[in-house]
């Protein structure tokens, strides 16, 4: 407790004169300030690896070149996907790592428009990421969380989403459908790199979207 300890200036063991005590005190407080500065330097040096370690998830290890995080993943032979149908496909994430377990699996909706034309949608709703379900009869994707709905081409139909479904880039090689996957699709981290050139947040009310579609009931 402080009351048991004498103030340094009152030390009885000290045989110095008052001027000598003042000089010693001044020297010691300078050394204390110096030690604070020294700890500041060491602390800053220590902070570099610690901050680097903490921020490491945000530093992109771009194995996919200009496509960003991730890699190309095969979804199976194109013959698995009948023209005009939309099917749920599971694959293992190319960035799956130690201890991911079942969370390393990913699902996506594959829509085959024609022999060579596909659309591969992320299951994650563009609103808040819940898994959308395809209803082939009403040709809609519906989200269970807040009721977002999308048309078969992935465009926004109704509800709170501000844009259509996220799409993966795909290519066909040797009769196999391959997509580029690797990060959780959100408004800022979209599945398709082609989206990156667009603004991060696209706000389109439903009413503006509708005229852009070919008037559906005449199609």
């Amino acid at each position: 407790m402080p009351e048991f300890l004498k103030h340094p200036g009152e030390s009885s063991n000290d045989s110095l004169s008052p001027e000598g005590k003042a000089a010693a005190h001044s020297r010691r407080s300078f050394l204390f300030k110096l030690s604070l500065a020294l700890n500041g330097v060491v602390g800053a040096a220590l902070a570099v690896p610690i901050v680097g370690y903490l921020l490491s998830p945000t530093m992109k290890k771009s194995s996919g070149g200009d496509l960003g995080v991730g890699a190309w993943v095969g979804l199976g032979p194109v013959t698995d996907f009948p023209v005009g149908e939309t099917r749920l496909v599971d694959f293992v994430s190319p960035v799956k790592s130690l201890g991911d377990g079942e969370t390393g699996k990913v699902a996506c909706w594959v829509r085959r428009i024609s022999a060579q034309q596909f659309q591969v949608f992320a299951i994650n709703c563009a609103h808040l990421g819940c898994p959308v379900r395809w209803f082939s009869e009403s040709k809609l994707f519906m989200c269970p969380c807040h009721g977002g709905a999308y048309y078969e081409d992935g465009s926004r139909a109704s509800g709170p989403p501000e844009r259509g479904l996220f799409e993966y880039n795909y290519k066909l090689s040797n009769g196999t459908l391959t997509i580029h996957a690797g990060q959780l699709p959100t408004l800022a981290t979209q599945a398709s790199c082609s989206e990156k050139s667009r603004p991060l947040v696209q706000i389109k009310p439903a009413t503006e979207n509708t005229p852009a579609r070919s008037t559906p009931w005449q199609a």
Binding site: E102, G129, A157, S158, P160, L184, T189
Partner: protein
Amino acid sequence: MASLKERGTAAGLIVFNWVESRLGLIKPTVAAATHPTPSSNASWWYVFGSAATVLLMLQIATGVLLALIYSPSANEAWSSLNFLNHNVALGWYVRALHGWGSDFMIAIVLIHMVQVFLFGAFKFPRELTWIFGVFLLLLTLGMAFTGQVMRFDQDAYWGLGIGASISSRVPIIGAPLVHMVLGGPTLGGATLSRFFTLHVFVIPGLLLAMAGLHIWMTLFHGVSDWPMPGRLVNKATYQREYHELAEKTGIPFVPDAAWKDAVFAAAIIFSVMAVAFFFGPFGPGGPPDPTIIQTAPKPDFAFLWIYAVLAFLPPSIETPVMLVVPVLAIAGMLILPLVNGEGERHWAKRPIAVLMVAVIAVSLGIFTRLGTYTPWSPIMTAWTGDPVPPQYLHGRSPLERQGALVLQNKQCRNCHSLDHVGGQRGPALDDVASQLTEDQIIRQVLQGGGNMPAYGNALNPSQTKALTAFLETLRGPDLAPAVDASRKLANTSEMLVPPASIPPAQRASR
């Protein structure tokens, strides 16, 4: 010769003196515990803070017990919870205590906050106590959210996805922030590890330190005196008045006031035990496998109101509201004692404070209630699970019955109810023909609008014809069919020319 009792007491005193002369904490602690407090606040209204502290102790104890078994790995977490539930003796009960303890703690912390607010106890000199209390509330909610993640099931997985999606809406740093939250590009092992670190190390450390400071400040300033209408807080005189009150009416906090805290704490802990015993642990729900999409993710009770608010925000203002309103709300709570640190403390003289509590409580209650049954969500199985009520098919023509079939097959029921069964996203269809004319029904179905998608691509003309015919029969009890008010006008002015005014030649040609 001294009796056995006297010798025992003397030995005890020697041990006590030996420890206290080295530790030096027992006497100050006893002095703090028995400090005089104004007798007016030895009240049942003043027991919530201590109850929250006791619940925090329960959470720490049960949390440590769960950590003996729980495996914080995305690979094993879900299985280890099932193992706790079914294979570890009383594992289910410790999980239940921890889960229900968290709900009780949020409730008690909120009640404590409302009590302090209504009693004006946040005013001078206890401003910083309130500010630390706001941080304690946020940390408690942080424990609740990260704790929901620990229950690594479907709801936890998609709840994290919702968290990532909200983070992604932050301008400029959205993408790095998502990766920061997830611990990598996807939601997986790294995500669970960092939420485990938050739940077990970071937030509890902050929570304990903050709670310690919060309690220290309560001791330092004394428990706030019972508010009296007309007794104003004045920075110049309050502390002198408080000390006079404590001297005049003071009773030792322990035991004269603290027995109520102790009784209430025991009642709360016993309630947690009872609720945990009768209702059991929370989940875990389905496995955290993102390829299982037959799921309707929902957050825990404390966050249902947020989930509901997110369903109602229009897309155009959703991101700004999501990012700005929480900041404003927290800032408002933090600066409250700084801008309102003096004056009237009694609730009867602070109508706006009472009104605010009422409005906030009712709003949270309504949104939480809505969150429990999510009327905005389509019911994914209604189209196959909920048949058209038989009374809507009696005496209908084949075309109309065909239309009922179209209504089911095209999943209309996922969003529209018939006879109170089906989705509630869209309006009930029981009296649709009394609301819309045939033309309006056709237009609405094909073009959509409001919150309804366009079905023009999903219906062929004959299906549309049948569906409209069926919907036209749905008029509700004894209601007239909807009519187009302008149709009669149009007919009168153009079509229905009185026969007499038409020349015979034209009449013949008709």
